[in-house]
């Protein structure tokens, strides 16, 4: 597991998909310090599962499964901080309502808030939808049928659109 080749391949996979880790952590954890812990935990669990990676799936499918599973079940625990630095650096571009300069930024802030308020499973589904994953891949990640994916996403989108309508001044 600890061979240099394996480690280098892992680093490349993480580098290529770092956005996924950031977005999952950001959607499930609002507290900046806990979010750092969560990202570290996701990367650690990814590494632990790396030798079991099933090549019939894309790296993104494998990564989403682990990141979402960790985010849903692990982040609430008081994670014992390891004496390691945080592997991902950079401030998350969270847009604060009061600082949103454009309508687009305001809408993005509203979308992030809406996602943050969803139930854990709906949140996962919405994230995958916004990431433009196919229904087939979403079904593989979530473990439900494609029809079920379509139905659920449609319901969440309807609520989201109604939510955005309330933002438009009458």
């Amino acid at each position: 597991m600890n061979s240099p080749d394996q480690s280098a391949l892992f680093l490349n996979v993480i580098d290529a998909h770092k956005g996924i880790i950031f977005k999952v952590a950001n959607s499930y954890c609002k507290d900046p310090e806990s979010r750092k812990d969560l990202m570290q935990e996701i990367i650690l669990q990814l590494w632990r599962s790396f030798d079991r990676y099933d090549q019939q799936y894309r790296y993104s499918t494998w990564l989403y499964r682990i990141a979402l599973n960790v985010a849903i079940s692990y982040y609430r625990k008081t994670i014992t901080r390891r004496s390691l630095s945080i592997p991902l650096s950079g401030d998350l571009p969270l847009i604060e309502d009061s600082h949103a300069e454009t309508q687009s930024e305001y809408n993005l802030h509203h979308l992030q808030q809406f996602i943050a308020g969803l139930k854990d499973l709906d949140k996962a589904l919405m994230l995958l939808y916004l990431e433009e994953r196919s229904y087939k891949e979403i079904a593989e990640i979530m473990g439900i049928t494609e029809t079920n994916v379509a139905t659920k996403i449609s319901r969440i989108k309807t609520i989201l659109k109604q939510n955005f309508l309330t933002l438009i001044p009458s």
């Binding site: 597991m1 600890n2 394996q6 480690s7 680093l11 993480i14 580098d15 770092k18 956005g19 950031f22 977005k23 570290q40 650690l44 669990q45 590494w47 632990r48 599962s49 079991r52 990676y53 099933d54 499964r65 682990i66 979402l68 599973n69 960790v70 849903i72 079940s73 609430r76 625990k77 008081t78 014992t80 390691l84 630095s85 945080i86 592997p87 991902l88 650096s89 950079g90 401030d91 998350l92 687009s104 993005l108 979308l111 139930k119 854990d120 499973l121 996962a124 916004l130 990431e131 990640i141 979530m142 473990g143 439900i144 029809t147 079920n148 139905t151 659920k152 989201l160 659109k161 955005f164």
Partner: protein, 215 residues
């Protein structure tokens, strides 16, 4: 808002991310050097301490019962034996639950993994229900033969009242410690720490998972 507008909005977020995040390869590489931790290492000290205390307590009770078996009061032996048995079941369930949670495949589809984890965590409620059943045995272990044969009537009335009350309380809790009562004041008062909040969230998640499976 159209679907395409939503996606475009999210893509704008992507662009912001691309310019603001970077992977520190050195720190990530450090994670790949971590040896896969044993179950024992992954447990919080408090959990290990709880299990150890539980095992020591059960051992103490068993040694007591074995040593007093030939000449101890029958009610003491039955009471201590039942308390030990109920604690053994609870410790066994607790350890089994921790082992299964540790072994859960985190790379399986989200619903399957979460259902497994949530079901295990929610079984903690069963541990509480089993432990509460020992309550009446704490009111019977000191009954002796002389107390039964020669005890004054008032002592008997008081003793029966206490044992009956504790039995009813134990049965009531055994029946009522369930997710459906999570909003009740007494439930919140007793189960009001992070550990129990996680258990409650797990049961809620199980309901959501059922909802997802049913479409």
């Amino acid at each position: 808002m159209l679907d395409t507008e939503l996606i475009q909005l999210w893509k704008a977020y992507d662009k912001k991310l691309e310019t603001s995040i970077a992977l520190n390869r050195k720190n990530t590489e450090a994670i790949t050097k971590i040896k896969v931790g044993s179950l024992l290492n992954s447990l919080r000290p408090l959990k290990i301490f709880t299990i150890l205390i539980g095992i020591l307590w059960v051992l103490f009770l068993d040694i007591l019962v074995i040593n007093l078996f030939s000449y101890g009061s029958t009610l003491f032996l039955i009471s201590a034996g039942m308390v030990s048995l109920l604690n053994k079941i609870a410790i066994g369930l607790y350890v089994y639950q921790i082992v299964l949670i540790h072994q859960a495949d985190i790379d399986e589809p989200v619903l399957a993994t979460q259902a497994k984890l949530a079901r295990l965590k929610s079984s903690t409620l069963w541990i509480a229900r089993i432990l509460i059943l020992q309550l009446p045995f704490w009111t019977t272990f000191y009954w002796s033969k002389s107390m039964i044969e020669q005890g004054p009537i008032m002592l008997w009335i008081l003793q029966i009242f206490i044992t009956l009350s504790f039995s009813l309380i134990a049965i009531w809790f055994f029946v009522n410690i369930k997710f459906e009562n999570k909003e009740k004041k007494w439930f919140k008062f007793i189960f009001n720490d992070q550990e129990w909040n996680n258990v409650m969230r797990s049961v809620e998640l199980l309901h959501d998972i059922d909802d997802y499976k049913n479409g």
